[in-house]
Amino acid sequence: MAKILGIDLGTTNSAIAVMEGGEPRVLENAEGNRTTPSIVAINKSGERLVGLLAKRQSVVNPKNTIFSVKRLIGRKFSDSEIERDKNWLPYDIQASMQGGVEVKMANRSYKPEEISAMVLQKLKLDAEAKLGERIEEAVITVPAYFDDSERQATKNAGEIAGFKVRRILNEPTAAALAYGLNKEKNEKIVVYDFGGGTFDISILEVGDDTVEVKATGGDTHLGGDDFDKRIIEYLVAEYKKNEGVDISKDPLALQRLREAAERAKHELSTAIETEINLPYITSDSSGPKHFLMKLTRAKLEDLVRDYIERSIMLVRDTVTAPSPKGAGLKLSDIDEIVLVGGQTRMPFIQEEVKKLFNKEPHKGINPDEVVAIGAAVQAGILQGDVKDILLLDVTPLTLSIETLGGVATSMIPKNTTVPTAKTQIFSTAADSQTSVEIHVGQGERPMMADNKTLARFILDGIPPAPRGIPQIEVVFDIDANGILKVSALDKASGKTQSVRIEASTSLSKEEIEKLKKEAAEHADEDQKKKDAIEAKNQAESLVYVAEKSLREAGDKVPAEIKDAINQKISRLKEVKDGNDAEVIKTATSELSQEIQKIGESLYKNKGDEPKQPEPNNN
């Protein structure tokens, strides 16, 4: 089954996403960018350009470069909006035979849906190239205020581009879907969408499996581009005031300033202050001139305050005004707020929205991509309707096995997708140990005693051997239903034991949260405890090795070395049961250095031994 493409067909930029392994993923276009300008052009050689390339030549080919066609799609030529847009859009707009709108590009007339289709076709080709498979179906988003004719025209655009359009989805609904808000029952959601060129507000109500648009509002000619213009105007004016030079007349200087201003705007979303430093920006009779100016977040906020206040006023109206102008609700009726559009990264906007509703807005997903992601989520739901036999679960908590000193050794970490299996080899902790206890637990704490026990069983009949020699293979296997099977096998004797645990993932949500919270609360002290136990384990194993080496070396090692080692062994034995990992580690390392002397003295002795007589071949 081929994938369904989620498409945010924007006024300024478009974005695409698909579901992959149950998660939405934004796809990059052929130029390696995550958004594509919704622009189409025919250049002087008659070549059609779409996206970034069309944008790059728009200044020198304004009559044959079509942008913002979303403002025209599905409209009548007589609409008042068309009357208004006609005046500022640089390309020719005319009435079609049926009273609709047509745009002219390279002496040919096109319907707006044909232009949108060219953008969609590029997106389709780029997605196919990225995924390496054909894409036939799409979910395309439109503003909530689009009427039937505008929706139908958008659907036609999709079909001209070669898609079977599975759904025309409202942009705010897509944003809510991206945040999973469709699952909440009877909630009222405000979507605040501040894009590059348009500002949209939508009030949604989530019911049983439906998302109803209660009201829409906004300003179709207010956007982030207005902010950029304000910043540049301010910088130019300040420079003129301080240096007496008007750089707005110098295209080179203005271009550099434009790039720097955009960067500064982005930086001020995370920094309080930024510096615009453009050496040699221009020159006058006195010589070269530089541009060095600090821009603070507060100044930026001042510059665009009226725009933001206006947007907040529009939100208030759309929520509270009686129907049909608004949703007729109180501000306190709103349960969730979703921020969409690149401009909402500005902390001032986030604060003002928060202040209005007295609620934290959702803003975790990239606001430029949230609509495309929501479209992909809808595509995923549609794909699921057809055939979704595989809904994979994850393990909510870590599954572990108890090892020496009561440590919980993780076998399957939390959030691992099931079905899965994990195998690890363990060994014995004492000489001639003939049985091991397999203690299976669940939880995030490093010590098994603090976690929940799921099962215990004994594997016996292990042939006696020194510690560390037997190989016990332990397998944790969880099937798709969350049933955990733990088995232990002694590789030498072939003896095996196993247990089946039915309820390994059946903890209630509260229980899981409680266990996770406990783990977080005790993280520090647990870590210390675990470190001490690990140090102790290491110490014990070194004491074992040291004693064994001394025994085996017998008289070959001088008495003073033996004494020194025995002293270090006693010291380590003394401290190893304490709680201070550092002290144990120091004593361990001292012993470890000391026992190297056994080897040294053995080699020395070997060197002193009389040489064997050479065999005489004669």
Binding site: M1, E20, G21, E31, G32, N43, K44, L49, L52, L53, A54, K55, R56, Q57, S58, V59, V60, N61, P62, K63, P90, Y91, D92, G132, P251, L252, Q255, R256, E259, L278, P279, Y280, S283, G287, P288, K387, I389, L390
Partner: protein, 178 residues
């Protein structure tokens, strides 16, 4: 009364028939389920293999282009060096030193995949490499580059920033609608 045994027989036959039908139906359902599961399993496996390949590619890209933002910011500093060199006179003692620092800096960037987009007056405008920021009336053929306003660069084969240029326009011709 004669009818009775016949009825019974019929019922037995009917029961057997029903059992047969039930089993057949169950078999069909099981076969359908099996095909569906097998299909799902194959698909999941293929998805995973494709995902792994895609992930490897993505990882390579990440290593190659992970420095893009840093290189872009450093390139802006390189531009500033260029500006200073165009302004400083040739006999200025500091000029040579600045030139050498600039070369050292540019060589370092080149080692990390950076290259400049070279633009000369008279080159044909190409939106893959250039972005037009304005037009100037001139005697030159229409659509050729007259001036580079801000320099463009690539990281390996990817255009990080197009070269921003002014393009020629035939005298007296305006594209903006009246």
């Amino acid at each position: 009364m004669n009818e009775e045994p016949k009825e019974e027989n019929k019922e037995i036959v009917n029961d057997e028939q029903k059992l047969d039908d039930d089993l057949k139906e169950k078999l069909i359902r099981c076969e359908k389920d099996r095909d569906e599961y097998l299909e799902g399993w194959k698909r999941a496996k293929a998805d995973f293999i494709n995902y792994k390949k895609e992930e490897t590619k993505r990882f390579e890209e990440l290593i190659k282009f992970g420095t893009a933002e840093l290189i872009q910011e450093l390139a802006a500093i390189l531009d500033s060096f260029d500006f200073s060199l165009t302004v400083l006179k040739n006999d200025e003692p500091a000029r040579k030193g600045i030139f050498l620092i600039k070369s050292q800096f540019e060589d370092f960037l080149k080692k990390h995949g950076f290259s400049r987009i070279v633009v000369s007056k008279g080159d044909k405008f190409n939106p893959v490499l250039h972005e037009a920021v304005g037009e100037i009336e001139s005697e030159e053929p229409e659509g050729v580059i007259l001036e580079e306003v801000s320099r463009g660069y690539r990281l390996y084969d990817k255009v990080l920033k197009p070269s921003r240029v002014m393009v020629s326009k035939i005298k007296g011709q305006s594209q903006i609608k009246e």
